[in-house]
Symmetry: C3
Subunit: 442 residues, 3 copies
């Protein structure tokens, strides 16, 4: 058993601990989830934004909490019980306690005909109540009267999110965003928060160059609330961001591009994805669906992409009870972790190198060139000379990897060696070519 295996199992076990919690956009399920994250030893700061607070075009909703819910047949049999699966109750259902005919009950039931063994995940955006169940079970419901009972509250409270900063050597920031608002589903969403936690643990020990801001928030309204408080800071300091979701299955790697697909985050995701796996997929912003919708909206314009293995909406288990602890695996999580880590390293290591001398340097006097010149003798130093050739201030390391055909890791090593020799200086990873949006100089 390797360290990496142990690490994978540790992530999986943490995910399994978070799985039973009934999360929603607001409420105690979010708080309990964040409390588990703190328990990992992470310096998480909990933010609460009161219901009714205006955040951009939105208003923070009332807080929803639920204790108990079931449907009971007149025969006394509990047909559906929230205690069995928190997917059984439609999110934001108002309290109810009444007796109905099967016909009337049907109007409040949700199932998926094409996936008869799956309980769907459904949420209300208006005052209503409902239950979700498998289509198989729904088909077998006997005639008769049913008692429905939902013991929930929908009242003023707050929206909760967690924020965690890993200070780096500079104020340049990388944002890692992930969401904690879905009930018991493993890939979408717990893979994102779990991998984020373990990346934070790693970075806290790694003394990175950039500062890392992790946010664990409810999707959409949480991202909007966070942005409404931090947009100006992020516009000044954020150089790249990654939204993490659907990273724990064993499907191919993918990413969802930013609005024009040309920010540093896009370039990194493309490079890492393509060099990691031949089956890597790029999805355009037209196929967005997670918080890249907010981070890349006009006027917000942050350089963020979403990283996934099997992208949300593309696998049948998505948004059903089938997205469970068997769909996500330790190996799947470990791969997702490595993928995001490689993206972070590519950003963290990225610099703009500038050659220190005019013309080629004399490598020979530094022992870097063979003492004997004959056919082919220059090849050993070719990589080094190619890096120097494009170290003209217009290219960052990713550009140089693309221009020279060298692997990014080799470019990094060569730059380090050349800096040590006094042949290069480097400036921060921002060049005119890695502007935030990459379009029209914005």
């Amino acid at each position: 058993v390797t360290d990496e295996d142990r690490h994978a199992v540790e992530m999986y076990e943490f995910l399994a601990r978070l799985f039973p919690i009934c999360r929603s956009i607001t409420g105690d399920g979010v708080r309990e989830t964040l409390s588990h994250i703190s328990d990992l030893g992470l310096p998480l700061v909990i933010r609460e934004i009161p219901s009714g607070t205006q955040v951009f075009d939105w208003s923070v909703p009332q807080e929803w909490n639920i204790r108990e819910a079931y449907i009971e047949h007149e025969s006394g049999v509990r047909i559906v019980d929230f205690a069995d699966s928190n997917l059984h109750v439609v999110g934001y259902s108002v309290p109810v306690d009444c007796v109905l005919s099967l016909e009337d009950l049907q109007c409040h039931l949700h199932s998926i005909e094409g996936q008869p063994e799956a309980i769907p995940y459904v949420t209300y955006y208006e005052r209503n109540w409902g239950f979700c169940l498998t289509h198989a079970q729904r088909e077998s419901l006997p005639e008769g009267k049913y008692r429905v009972h939902i013991d929930s509250t929908l009242e003023d409270g707050s929206l909760t999110y967690g924020e965690l900063i890993v200070k780096g050597q500079t104020q340049d920031e990388v944002l890692i965003s992930t969401y904690v608002c879905h009930p018991s589903m493993a890939n979408n969403e717990l893979s994102g928060p779990v991998i984020a936690c373990y990346l934070a643990k790693w970075l806290l020990e790694a003394s990175p160059k950039m500062t890392y801001r992790f946010v664990f928030l409810p999707e959409t309204i949480g991202a909007i609330a966070f942005l409404s408080r931090n947009l100006e800071w992020l516009k000044c300091h954020m150089i790249a961001g990654f939204n993490l979701t659907c990273l724990g299955d064993e499907g191919s790697y993918s990413y969802v591009a930013s609005r024009y697909g040309v920010t540093l985050a896009d370039r990194v995701a493309e490079y890492v994805g393509n060099t990691t796996s031949p089956s890597f997929s790029s999805f355009s912003f037209l196929e967005r669906g997670s918080d890249e919708r907010q981070y890349c909206a006009p006027g917000v314009d942050l350089p963020l992409v979403t990283l996934c293995r099997s992208k949300f909406g593309t696998y049948p288990e998505y948004h059903t009870s089938l997205d469970d602890l068997s769909f996500v695996t330790p190996a799947g999580l470990a791969g997702g972790y490595r993928y995001v880590k490689a993206c972070i390293e590519a950003v963290d290591n990225n610099v703009v190198p500038v050659a220190s001398c005019l013309g080629e340097p004399q490598l020979g006097k530094r022992g870097l060139y063979p003492a004997l010149s004959k056919k082919g003798s220059a090849s050993a130093s070719t990589g080094m000379l190619n890096v120097l050739a494009y170290a003209d201030g217009g290219n960052d390391l990713l550009d140089i990897a693309g221009l020279t055909g060298l692997e990014l890791r080799d470019v990094c090593l060569l730059v380090e060696q050349l800096v040590g020799l006094g042949l290069l200086t480097t400036s921060s990873g921002r060049t005119r070519n890695s502007s935030r949006l990459g379009r029209d100089g914005k």
Copy 2:
């Protein structure tokens, strides 16, 4: 019989009324044609520029008028008579009245060996005279003496053109240019003026956003004379222009690009053409031949393209008597009218939308998002959100249609709806992406 059918027949009948008139670069034929246009109830202003006036590199030529012309065999038979077809006399022929041998006559005759049934259209740029006839007739000319008689005048007068303004809500102008200098040929040239007239009638009732300037002028020298008087104004106000010619046959739609093919007029013609018909053809500026030559010349640099069905020079009837009232049809004219109208609408509706709020708006509270969120429930609002996503001030409606894959008409409707909801504002159709020439920011 539909309204559109009646409209098509009306255009065709108007074209048939203009057909017999003997037009040339200057002279009474042009004036009579413009007078018919006024008679449609259009507020046409007639401009006269005296012979000898310097216009850019050119000088307005003398005015040419012709009353009678024929060739008579010594047997007394009239072989060729201007009264039968005004194509029989070479344009700008000087007066002549003499008797020649067949051999000497041949030097003044023009026919097309490969099209033995066609009378060619020929014009002189120097003092000379000549007759045009079918090659079949020419081959059958008997030996003997011939009397040739041309009763024409070539003397100081003026160049005549007509101008018609449809005032819009802004000073931004769209130029519609077409020419009235060819004798009896139907597609090239009467289809252009006829469709222009009926577009003017439509616009006068449509209260468009842009101002429309229609000009009916002799090709080349007329466009140059018009430009020499109006260039500074056009450079300030003209946002797009369309030169109309060869729009009455039933061939495929096409357009001739501006110098670099990237102005708003080009983008509109490409979009409308490609979405109208799979057989749409784009011709580069190297294949130009009509007044786009002047409007797009260096230093003039106006954003204009030429719209055609079968492009001039590409069909065998071109510049012969075969381009007659049977080559042009009501259906052909109706299609040409719809094509140009769609281009005008695309320009008139074009705006640069800018999202009013940061992040995505809350569509739910506006009743635009389903109250229930389950798999696939967002798709109804996807179009709206995609328009908002690219409403960043850098794109006009044509750009957004291209970026989102939505049809332009749907983008227009969505923008209207979003403006109504207060979620978008719009500015005029000029962005940095729709600059006049589209190259190097000019």
Copy 3:
């Protein structure tokens, strides 16, 4: 026998005179070579830079000279003698005179197993000594003692290069760089200096528009030394440059691009190469290897490319005794000369034409348009009108050739004719499109 044949033979004979001289990075071989160049009647200025002078990152090395060297078997037979081929001694070998066993001798021998009949060309960058011989000879060395003798000196002196200016009508400069530091090899390197000499002879009589600076220098250190003295001047005045090497064999034409492949020199080489031969090859800067390495280094950033027939490193004779007077031919040299001459002419003739009048000019009154307009009659003047159409100040002649599909020579002739007619003016060959590096406006 044509003039061109005589010219080819003259070049070949001059090359043959230079062939036996023992050149190295420094020393009397370089001086003797430059002296032969002066003897052609060329106004060459000899520059000497003392050993130890700091030039950018480098230091000018000590001067190496050699009089005699051999290996003698104990039997008295001279196995290897510098008098037979100056490739037999490793460049920069220190003096030695001693007796060794065959085994000890082997450590100082160089041969190529895969090319058993070739003496390799080898140079030291450290204090050492060695001999080169064919692998066949090396295999047949008998056992026994060997006396090795090298009578060389390695001591303070200078680095020598030659510079030759052909004054043009402007201060805009074209740099022709070639190297004179290799012992007896014909294609790499004597073809370059020989063709440079004959181009200089031609330009001295041709009164070119640009000023031409020819440099004959040792590769790498010579280019660096030259640049360290002249960089500011070159940055201000040099509009294009060509490094000449491997131009005397009969292989296909090729060139090595500048750093981003988009300078005027690249555009010229691409145009001339592609229109000269369908087998023309473009090599990227990643495949560089000659002095383009220095001229195109970051911070130096000069618009220079290397012109070759068979590119260095791509043919088996490269850097061996097989690159001899049979590998280079009069016809090969003549073709190389024509290729470089065509590139020079393309630069020298290059201008940015600007149309003098608005709209198209009236070609008819200048006798350039047929007096009679009928189908197809405009085609004769189409080339002229196309040149005028793109004479908008944004294009040089190469751009116009590309935009119109005309041959560069025809564009030149038409521009000359149009200037004569007062329809065009021209400015120097620099436009925003022909910037030095062609990237990001640098």
